[in-house]
């Protein structure tokens, strides 16, 4: 391009907006997380006489128990950034868990689903599980991109169908007796590692690649994205495919962690994942959101779960409080970012 212009003019932009870069969105959410953790710490000393945070085991389980939600949430965040939504991820966790597990059975297990396909190397169930997630994601994406039906309904349909497939696959029987190789992925701290790796990859992808720029552009203004030459349909398929793939990862980790797969796995996970993303600052109207925020949002959910058990909150109150905290966290976020709205 030719910068040798004939226009005169000083080297400019002193003024407009020079100073308008804001504190990163995550700072807000991190504060909310810290606030919640400190409240638990305080209440811990008062009521239980124990520290909430100074307990390595608890810190581990706090993240471990939401790793699967977190993995899905990373995918869902991207979908929400495009202005869509994915209600099918919970069902897809169940489906991929079932299918992957059925190819990960050990020959020692007498009731293997495919007796001739036991003791396979662990990469096979993993690859098949990922492929199933990917395919389901592509299906979602294609449906949304080409038929223009609302993502809410498209993925609601997939959600119901995938859950049905899940139950049909083994007629409701659980799939157990998985090989040690396969269950290794879900053991110890590995689910957390998978979660963080996934988070880092997509954090980079969203911020530093064209994939990411297109994702934000579509969510911010589809029309603008289209006239800028972005192939919106193709990109949406990619984004939903990624979400499906990650649901596949989550399914594999879930099956591996529980050392079994059953048709009811992942029920309602989609809602937790969406909550994590939104608590983390992702806007349901599209165009706004970051993986770092989602990670923090996920950890907020984990902290709440551990905190409730720690404080011996009656189970009946846990849900009531959980709902209120979700609302409160989002309200707090809306208020702290009020300047962004106007």
């Amino acid at each position: 391009m030719s910068t040798n212009s004939t226009l005169p003019g000083p080297a400019v932009f002193t003024g407009i907006g020079a100073n308008r870069r804001r504190l990163p969105v995550e700072a807000n959410i991190l504060l909310i997380l810290l606030g919640i953790a400190l409240v638990f710490e305080l209440l811990g000393w008062i009521f239980v006489g124990q520290s909430f945070l100074m307990n390595a085991q608890r810190l581990k389980i706090m993240i471990l128990q939401v790793s699967v939600i977190g993995i899905i949430a990373v995918g869902v965040t991207q979908v929400i950034i495009t202005g869509g939504i994915d209600l099918s991820s919970g069902s897809m966790v169940g489906l991929t868990a079932m299918i992957a597990a059925s190819l990960a059975q050990s020959s020692a297990w007498t009731k293997a689903l495919y007796p001739s396909l036991t003791d396979l190397p662990f990469v096979i169930p993993i690859l098949v599980g990922l492929a199933v997630g990917l395919l389901a994601g592509v299906f979602n994406g294609a449906l949304i991109a080409y038929t223009k039906i609302p993502p809410f309904i498209a993925t609601l349909g997939t959600m119901v169908s995938a859950r049905g497939l899940c139950k049909w696959y083994t007629k409701g029987q659980p799939v157990s007796g998985l090989t040690d190789q396969f269950t290794f992925i879900g053991s110890g701290i590995w689910p957390v590692v998978v979660f963080l790796v996934v988070a880092v990859i997509f954090h980079v992808a969203l911020r530093y690649t064209r994939y990411g720029k297109f994702t934000y552009a579509i969510g911010a203004n589809v029309q603008a994205a289209r006239v800028s030459g972005i192939d919106v349909e193709r990109h949406l398929i990619k984004v939903y495919a990624v979400a499906g793939l990650l649901a596949g990862v989550a399914g594999i980790v879930t099956a591996s962690r529980a050392q079994t797969a059953q048709a009811g796995m992942g029920v309602m996970y989609e809602l937790d994942a969406i909550a994590a993303a939104v608590i983390g600052g992702t806007s349901l109207t599209g165009g706004v959101g970051r993986i770092t925020g989602t990670v923090i949002g996920t950890i907020i959910l984990g902290t709440m779960m551990s905190g409730f058990t720690f404080l011996r909150v009656d189970a009946f109150y846990q849900e009531i409080i959980k709902g209120l905290i979700i609302i409160a966290a989002v309200i707090a976020d809306v208020y702290r970012q009020k300047s962004r709205k106007t």
Binding site: A217, D231, R340
Partner: protein, 512 residues
Amino acid sequence: MSSASIPAAARDRASAAGSEYLLTIENARKEFPGVVALDDVSFRLRPGTVHALMGENGAGKSTLMKIIAGIYHPDRGELHLRGKPIQLKSPLDALENGIAMIHQELNLMPYMTVAENIWIRREPLNRFGLVDHTTMNKMTADLFRRLNINIHPQVQVRDLTVANRQMVEIAKAVSYESDVLIMDEPTSALTEREVSHLFTIIRDLKAQGKGIIYITHKMNELFEIADEFSVFRDGRYIGTHLSSDVTRDDIIRMMVGREITQMFPKEEVPIGDVVLSVKNLTLDGVFRDVSFDIRAGEILGVAGLVGSGRSNVAEAIFGVTPASSGSIEIHGKPVTISSPNVAIRHRMALLTEDRKETGCLLILDILENMQIAVLQQDYVSRGFVAEKGITSACTLMSETLRVKTPNLAQRIENLSGGNQQKVLIGRWLLTKPRILILDEPTRGIDVGAKAEIHRLVTELARDGVAVMMISSEMPEVLGMSDRILVMHEGHVTGILDRAEATQVKIMELASK
């Protein structure tokens, strides 16, 4: 053909002035459900020229341009680019073939930075395939320096004023380095200063041999920047002429198909008592100590540069974003207007400047759009809407305002901008306001409709309505107002009487 009125010699000159066309489109037709937007239209663009498109609202100008930019596919018609036939399948296709477009509606991504907006899909990558933000920002800075634009590359677009967003759009289009550059009403959100800045850019591009298609409703711009122009009416091609060969009236006749005798039919009407009195109105950080009165039958024009705070004052008076201090009196009684709901009860009306954002209920039909404000106080009994009454009121209003539509069940979305504006004016007239605030009432509106709106405002004033009219068009302010209030950076810098007001005086106040 109305072009018959143009001297024959001039017509010949226009058609013979060069056979080498950059882009041609022949016999294009485009139909939308229920509307033929373009019918057998042809258009030719020469390199190194600025070719203006003129026509009433809904004439099909934007539609034709969207075909050239690969957004719509014509039902019929051939497109030739540099002499070769070409089919454009997508906007990307058009961009890759050297056609860029600045759209009538702003098409930016608000939550992304200026640099990201400009280079979307063309981001510079480093050797790992990741986006190189440093280079991208530098490229933006270079581009802006070249165009003499003063905006920081890393600021988010939503933080920019409308005018600056428009400048970003212009810079983005220029950055494609394309041979054909389409500008669809690029100046509707700009004031004189930015307009002349844009014209400098355009002349520069022209000198580089690019072909520029320029759509505008502002006649003076045509004479200032365009080499030739084509006129459309009701989806048909009327003619192409050199702009040096014609007069204003010729063009208007071609566009409208009839004469418009009076652009500013200002009448002297008896001025009554003070209806609205604003004292020391302040909205922290936006405007300060704004005071003025408007009397019955008076039209108070409000002038100022873009971003001077005029719209904010209007919105504060109307309760959209209430002021932080100051007082408002209506007929001498102090009132607190905390929301538009309250304002309407005081029989105020506000025609907002952004039709799409704060005016139209886009997916609803004309009838619904027109009746929504009046339902607050009228045509409703026990919660039920008096369908018959409101329908005939809206029908009458549409006829009065000459809304161009087959029926009132059309979605307002499918009307041209000018007709949308008329529907919105109708919405407020139904409420029979005593105080009418008009914010850029003729923005993006063709001459014919403009004259009608002006006539309407005059009539309202005659009926004793107090009118406040914000406008960035100097001739409009000068032509229509009894007094002119000028704002600069949130302050009132002066109020001029009709007799003493001149363009120069207003500009002085607006930029001091």
